[in-house]
Amino acid sequence: MFACLYVPDFSVQAALLPESADAREILWRSPIVILDGPANLLKVTALNDPARKIGLEAGMTKLQVETRGGVLLRKRSLENENSAQTELLECANFFSPRVESTCLGTAILDLAGTKKLFGSSQNTAQKLAWKARERGFLLHIAIAANPDAAMFAARGFPGITVIPPGEEARHLAGLSVAMLPVTPEMLETLDGWGIRTFKALAALPEVPLTERLGQASLHLQRLARGQIDRVLKPVELASKFIESFEFDDPVETLESLTFVLNRLLEQLCDRLLSHSLATNNLRLTLELEVRQRQNENKGEEYKQEWKLPVPTQERKVLFTLVRLDLERNAFSAPIKKVTIEVLPMKPRLAQGNLFAPPSPEAERLEITLARIRGVVGSVDANGLSCAGSPGIVDTHNPISFSVQPFSSVADISNSVAAPGPVIALRVFRPTLETSVELTGETPHFVRLWKKHYRVLAASGPWCSSGEWWNSGAWARQEWDVALKTRTGVGYYRIYEDRIKQQWFVEGIFD
């Protein structure tokens, strides 16, 4: 058996999909039209039943619609429709792995072997309708022995239709021949003969019909009889996990944006969950509405990527990461399109270890780090991260260091015995420029914070240099000095930059 899911007024439903369930319910009851075409000649391409009831129809211009008043106008977005189609296929995929994307708003699935899981055809159809409603679709569902019969029944009859095998012709009898893939010329001929329904076409003798209208008419007749048994063309759904949404009017507020983002992430996480996958890589692209573009073909974009240490399926974690990032940024123009992509991977299967040291939860840690970055900033002037694990750079330059991403799951087993307490150097970043009075080659007075301090003892000079082969060349002459202060003694490290011929205070031994 095959089930067909048909979304009536697909463009309208796709436009309402990002709304909340309550808002969608209210909007669906009010007249809505979808406009498409050039900006100066927008025409109605789709509308819902309340709009039809007040006399609107496809092909009307925007001006004609506006004269009616009280009609909600939405611009057609192919992105939204594709996203809605993916959502529909995902919904169907819950019930069968073999799903065909017949066209926008129509999906056919093979129900072979699912009886034990979902029960009778009627039960399956009800479960499909319930699942689709959960995702925001109002569907026509039909179940029949072949895909085409199911498709015509779904398009022709509202609600749930179950056609027992062998009764296709009887059930489809009342449908109009205009629903068949018939050319306008052939439709005119059939109309001239008084053939307007599937029943009338099915009753015609095959040979005379073929003689008059060709081989194609025989195919149409068999479709009308529900006798065509074709092979389903299943789609592969798990290839890309991308969701996007294009706003009718570009948005400026974070609330409007996060509302849509939440919905898109929910869809993506549902899809990941249904495929038993998780993600550790999230990419966000925001297309900005830039009115004066230098290059007409290329608008301004904001791109951000998050790499998580562990894969996750939790929408809240991903949403909080995105929200915290957006709160930190101010955009130069309103946002007109949002695209989110997640790279799927297998979820982490790790059992909690009773003997593992206490560490922050990997998922929560990312949110904590994002919050910290919101307070201290992401990177400093040198491009080094403001929050992470300190790292040692493979160089002899004593002031160089790196900041690695901090992870609570990495290197937990690697413990090294502490060698024992040592005197720490507390560095000044950036190093303090200073002037030094020398006696011979030894520092005698050091200026520090606008005061001169006498050098009680000095150890040095310790010369080092490196990277003379490139632009980052450095050469220094270090001294460890004991400075007599008003309240005691301070042990400082000073050095002379031999390239700049300038003295600096690197830090204090503390």
């Binding site: 040291p357 206490p358 560490s359 922050p360 939860e361 929560r364 840690l365 949110i367 904590t368 910290i372 307070v375 201290v376 900033g377 400093d380 403001c386 929050a387 992470g388 694990s389 300190p390 790292g391 040692i392 004593p398 260091f401 900041v403 901090f406 609570s408 990495a410 290197d411 937990i412 690697n414 413990s415 090294v416 015995a417 502490a418 060698p419 024992g420 307490p421 040592v422 005197i423 720490a424 150097l425 507390r426 560095v427 000044f428 970043r429 009680l456 003892a457 000095a458 150890s459 460890d480 004991a482 202060t485 309240t487 005691g488 003694v489 301070g490 042990y491 830090g507 031994f509 503390d510």
Partner: protein, 241 residues
């Protein structure tokens, strides 16, 4: 009935009346003693038993003179990072990773937050306190150290007591230690341990700085009041000594 008896009687009456409405009003609040993190410096560990978990600790010392407060912190981080994740909120970005590695800090288990390095409107002190707050809320860190010692003494003194009190109550419910490095103690009774570190002048050995002689004073430990401070001396050596 003399005056003292009368006073005692009135006090008992008032106490009885208040205790009915507020049972905890006259209960002495005592912190539970629930483990410590050793600093790795024997004199400190023998006098103060290490840095208390579930408590706020202050390590104080001069910023102009060498006091040894950073060496104590580094030694503490080295011990703590062996078996737990640690965080260092560096208000003046003064941590030296090479020294940390030499002291034995497991750098991959240390979250280093460098305040005041980017174009953020908040001042380093505000950043440091906000980050400490976030880390406390997050949980999972065995040791959270906040280094405020390079910030001006006047600035840190302006931190309201309610902030220290809040920190001490939050850390109490967590299996972590919260350590502040400052020039002077500010948390008053909110701190469970206050250490004051001071370096003694020492001549260079063969024209080489080989180490300090340090004195540590336990200004406050557990229920002890400042008058009960204890002093002990010890020596620390440089990496190359």
């Amino acid at each position: 009935m003399d005056t003292a008896q009368l006073r005692a009687q009135i006090r008992t009456q008032i106490r009885t009346q208040i205790e009915e409405k507020f049972p905890a009003a006259f209960t002495l609040y005592r912190r539970e003693d629930r483990g410590v993190i050793p600093t790795g410096i024997t004199p400190i560990d023998s006098t103060a038993q290490g840095v208390p978990l579930h408590g706020l600790t202050e390590i104080c010392g001069s910023s102009l003179n060498s006091s040894g407060k950073t060496s104590v912190l580094i030694s503490l981080l080295a011990r703590a990072s062996q078996d737990r994740c640690c965080a260092l909120v560096d208000a003046s970005d003064s941590f030296h990773p090479q020294t940390g590695q030499a002291a034995g800090i497991n750098l991959s288990r240390l979250l280093w937050v460098r305040c005041g390095k980017s174009k953020v409107k908040l001042r380093p002190l505000e950043q440091a306190f906000k980050v400490a707050d976030i880390l406390l809320q997050s949980g999972g860190f065995g040791l959270i150290a906040v280094d405020l010692s390079n910030l001006g003494e006047r600035t840190v003194r302006k931190v309201p007591l309610s902030t220290w009190f809040r920190f001490s109550r939050v850390i109490e419910k967590q299996s972590s230690a919260l350590v502040f490095i400052e020039q002077e103690p500010h948390a008053t009774s909110c701190a469970q341990l206050v250490l004051r570190v001071q370096a003694e002048p020492r001549a260079f050995s063969r024209k080489l700085l080989t180490g300090f002689d340090l004195k540590v004073e336990v200004v406050r430990a557990g229920e002890k009041k400042p008058v009960c401070s204890e002093r002990s001396g010890f020596a620390l050596q440089t990496q190359w000594a």
